[in-house]
Each structure stands twice: as C-alpha cells, then as structure tokens.
Amino acid sequence: MVKVARQATSQATSREATLLEVRDVSVHFPIGAGFFGGQVVRAVDGVSLEVRAGETMGLVGESGCGKSTLGRVIVQLLPATSGQVLFRGVDLVRLKGERLRMMRQDMQMIFQDPYGSLNPRMTAGEIIAEPLRNFGVTRARGLERRVTDAMRICGLNPAYVNRYPHEFSGGQRQRIGIARALVLNPTFIVADEPISALDVSIQAQIVNLLDELQDRFQLTYLFIAHDLSMVHHISDRVAVMYLGKIVEIADSNAIYRRPLHPYTKALLSSIPIPDPDLEALRRPILLKGDIPSPISPPRGCRFHTRCPIAQFPICAEREPPLVDAGGGHRAACHFPGKL
C-alpha cells in the first residue's frame, strides 16, 4: 500500500523533484598498462539515470554488469572517467576538496558485507560516531545522544554501544552499518547489496527497517541488488544493467509485468517462485553462452550475442538508444516487447 501511494506522488511531482541525475557517465579501468597495450575494462559505459526525491530506485543486473561501480561513482568513492553526476544540480565529478566533503554528509552508503565493512578494532559506538566526528560534532554529550538515537532507530540496544563488531550477529552488524549511514541525517543513501550476505529470516528485518526509515526521514535510496524479487518489493522504479549499460528502466510494476527488453524478460523468467504450482508452469528463457568480456564488448547491441530475437545485421551494427515507450518506460532495444 505504502509503495503504491508513494509511486503516485512521485509521478505527480516527477520533473521538479529530481534529486540525482547521472549524465552519460563512463568508468573505465585500465588493465596491464604496458604488456597488454593499455586495454580498458568498460565497467560503466555511457549511463544516464535520474533518481527522484523520496523514491527507491532499484539497480539490478548480474555480476560484472557494473551496477556496484555505478553506485560507487555516484557517491564519489570512485572517479568517473567521463560524464556528470548532478546531485541537487551540482556536478559532483568536478567538485573537489572541502566542498565535496561537505556534500558527502548528504549522501551515504550501506555496504554488502557486514563483516568486512566495519572496523573490527572499533566499538559499535565509535563506528557510528565516526561520521559525526568527521563533520565536526565532537562535544561528548551531543555525540553520545546522536549515536544512541541512531542505534535505537535501527533496532540496536544502546546498551551495546561498547561492544565490538564480532560480538554482533550478521543482521545486527548490518544495522550498525545502517546506523552509521543514518547518523548524519542524509537525504540519499546508496545501498549496495545490503541483504545478500544475510540469512533469509534476517533479510526481511533489514528490508522492513529500510522501508520504515525511508518513510520516517524521507530518504531517497539507490538499492543495488541481484535478487530481483527483493528489488521489486522495495523499489518504486527499477533500472536493469547489462555489460555496463542500462538496457531498461521503468516503474517497478511495469517492468515486472511487461518487460520490453529481451534481457529483462530472460532475467525475470529465470527467477524461481516459492510456490510449487506456479513453478510447475514457469518456463525460463535460457540464454546461450556467457556474458561477453567488458574489455571488448560486442558491437551494436551488447546483448545481441545472446539474444533470442536478435536480427541481423541491425542488432550487430547499430547500438539501440534508450527510448521511451510511453509512461517513462524506456528500453534500449531495436525490437522492444517482441520476445
């Protein structure tokens, strides 16, 4: 219910409420500079994306598609090779030093691994207080209050403030990660696979917490994940990536009901449904071959080597642009909806 209501309002106020705009961003990693003659991995290649204030944008794709790289570029943990990342209209890519640092208060990140992303030598309290100290909140009383508040909001017992990460369970550790992201009152949070490392019975706890926090603090999320059922559950809109490009982007319900890009369709058909009766009817579209290397992606449409409906020569020669098929449902395919 909440999601439907939110979607309606986010559509009504779509234009003016853009919080983040990614314009034609590319990230290339050079590999083996000398010997291999300066090849580059095109992890993200010319991606444009808008995130509206208050919405959850889901970003899905298989491993190696560039979704995490894109997330990191957005919060400027990685430099973009080219393109712009506009946050409230300011281009973060060109921002430097103190001004970029101040901007960071407003955008935080939650990581996948609740084990690797917390310093084992710091207590939960110190971990959550670190962003505050970085931004000049040093008075002991104010600091303590904000840390315990953040812990309470995230469902952690403030009495555990002096415990170390290893004394917490995986789910609780992820709560520490969320409290750390929340303590500066950001407006925008990039959550990179926040639940994939957690047990099934814990995943719902964390997703519900993220949902609750969003309503309470009007947060905007970029939710990166490979679990398409969970992305559908939490997102207002969803973008699908393949080999460094966005191939389809639409309202969450639209993309799951009527996927236009053959890759999206194949991806959705691959997800098993936890219902034996429906499972018996599901026919997955199996893709041929493997994901090509991002060092030398196929010419034309990047998906044409595996696409069940590719037509030649057009798909192998002309790269399809991301075109609006109505109602903001955009797909990068020469034959959208034909599969």
Binding site: S229, H232, D290
Partner: protein, 313 residues
C-alpha cells in the same frame, strides 16, 4: 545436528532447507562420513541401497572411500574450490572415474567428452583441454557435475549448487539437474537456503532449524499449508512478484540460535509468535500431521490460525 531421521527414495529429489547453522551442510557431510574434526557422528545409522542394505557408519575406511564419488556423489557451492586449478577439465573428469573401478581406463577415456556434453558444456572437446580458470562460474559448476555423475551414482548430494551463480546461470543448472534426474534416475538431495529453488526442483522438502528437522513432507503440502511456525514465517518473509499482493514482509524477530547455547524446549520458541508456556519447557517431537507431512511443534499452524489464513498467501 541432533537426532535427524529421514529417507530418500530411489530417483527422488529431496530439498533440505535451513539457514546458516541449521545443520543442513553437516548433515550432508555426515552422509559420506566427511564431518570435519573435531566433529563426530555420535550415533545413529545411515542406511544405503537396496536390496543389499549397508550402514555407512559401519563400513571400513576403504569401503567409505569407494562409496564417495561412485555410488554417492557430492557437489559443493563453490565449484572454483572443488576443481584442481592446474589440471585440465577433461583430465579431472577422467580421474574421477579412475578413482573407482566401474570403468576401465579405456572406457573412462571415451566417456569424458559425452559426460561434458551431457551437462551441456558447449564445444566439449575444446573445454576438455581447458583449465578451470578458463571457464565461467556456471561452466565450472557443470564440469563439477560431469565429474560427480561420471560414475553413475544412485544418489547426488548437492550442497547449495546454485548459490554462487547468477540468476540466469542458476536457471540453467536447475534445468540441468531436473533433466538428469529424469533421464538417469539419480536421486538428489538438494541442500539450499532458497525456498524458491526447492519449489522448483524438489518433490519433498525437509526444513531444518538448530540442527533438527522441524518440518518435512511433500513440497506442495508444506508450501501450501506449512504447519511449523518457522516454515510459515519463512514463506511469508520472502517477496514475490508474480501478482501476489506485496504488503510488508513478515520479519522473524531475533537471530538463529547459537548452537553452543541452545534455548530450552522448542529451539524456535524465542523467535516464535505463536509460542505457549509448554514451548519453552519441553521440546516437541517430530509428529505426523497429515498425509506424509510431519512437524515438530506443540501448536501447529492449523491451530494457531483460522483456516482461511493458513495459506501464507
């Protein structure tokens, strides 16, 4: 793991679901007496085969070694760690056959390519001379499968075979397991945390929690009418996008128990929303519910909920 009993029929696909620490992997390892030190199998019997039934726990070390990889094969979550990185894939498949006496060296040699083709590795001849790092994750899992199936086992134990794979590759491996089961009649014990994979592949399901079976029965019955609150909650905590209403997910409070400090009574009672006083005092037995369905619960969902709410959706 404590007092687990179950059976797998010839040609059957049984799913074992549970979270980390539920004992599902230890159970799989114990089937082949592979429990790592300092763990040990304190008692019980593992009976294999018909008509000549053998107790795995009473076999000699040599007999167990002969059993592993021949009559009972196993595949693991991470195919990268299970393959030898410096040996060609084809050689490893042949070696799996050489370790047992089912095929002569000449036969083994001739079976390599067909085995690779059987698990749908394209260009099998080239792949046979590739090294594991030259294969993709899905292809490595298929190569593992070729090795484990090369001796025509009657039982395949698959421990999270698709968990490290992308969803499109997972779909291929699931289809492959399904077809192999149908074609060769190899029974499969599929160990997973993913209920959807169980719904897809298994005819029977065993739900484990804190080293115990808390519910088991035909997949359809257990999914349609789960009787243990843990199974019921798990099914309600995972999202679906197939048109089912998307309300908030049910969250199970607390965390899976520490096996060194298990709670009294029913091991799930601290997290259970239907618990009664009896639940913290006595541990319920695994009891017959309906048909072939069994559950370890004093309450049972059919009593905890009005009939129309019994279906998780």
């Amino acid at each position: 793991m404590d007092g687990v009993s179950f059976h797998v029929d010839r040609g059957e696909v049984v799913g074992v679901v549970g979270e980390s620490g539920s004992g599902k992997s230890v159970m799989a390892l114990s089937l082949l007496r592979l429990v790592p030190e300092p763990g040990f199998i304190a008692g019980g019997r593992i009976l294999l085969g018909a008509p000549r039934q053998r107790d795995v726990l009473r076999l000699s070390e040599d007999e167990v070694r002969e059993l592993r990889g021949s009559d009972v094969a196993m595949i693991f979550q991470d195919p990268t760690n299970s393959l030898n990185p410096i040996m060609r894939v084809g050689y490893q498949v042949r070696e799996a056959m050489a370790a047992h006496q089912r095929f002569t060296p000449w036969q083994a040699e001739r079976r390599v390519i067909p085995m690779l083709e059987k698990v749908r590795i394209l260009a099998a001849r080239q792949r046979a001379i590739s090294f594991p790092h030259q294969l993709s994750g899905g292809m490595r899992q298929r190569a593992m499968l070729a090795m484990s199936l090369s001796n025509e086992p009657s039982l395949l134990i698959a421990d999270e075979p698709t968990s490290s794979l992308d969803v499109t590759v997972q779909a291929e491996v699931i289809e492959l397991l399904r077809d192999l089961n149908r074609q060769t009649g190899t029974a499969i014990v599929l160990i997973t945390h993913d209920l959807a994979v169980v719904a897809s592949l298994c005819t029977r399901v065993i739900v484990m929690y804190a080293g115990r079976i808390v519910e088991q029965g035909p997949t359809r019955r257990v999914f349609k009418s789960p009787q243990h609150p843990y199974t019921w909650s798990l099914l309600r905590s995972i999202p679906r996008f197939d048109g089912a209403p998307s309300g908030p997910l049910l969250s199970i409070s607390g965390t899976p128990p520490d096996l060194a400090h298990l709670p009294s009574g029913c091991k799930f009672h601290p997290r259970c929303r239907f618990r009664t006083d009896q639940c913290s005092a006595d541990e319920p037995p695994l009891e017959h519910v309906t048909g072939a369905q069994e559950a370890r619960c004093w309450v049972l969902m059919r009593n905890a909920l009005p009939a129309e709410e019994g279906d998780p959706w």
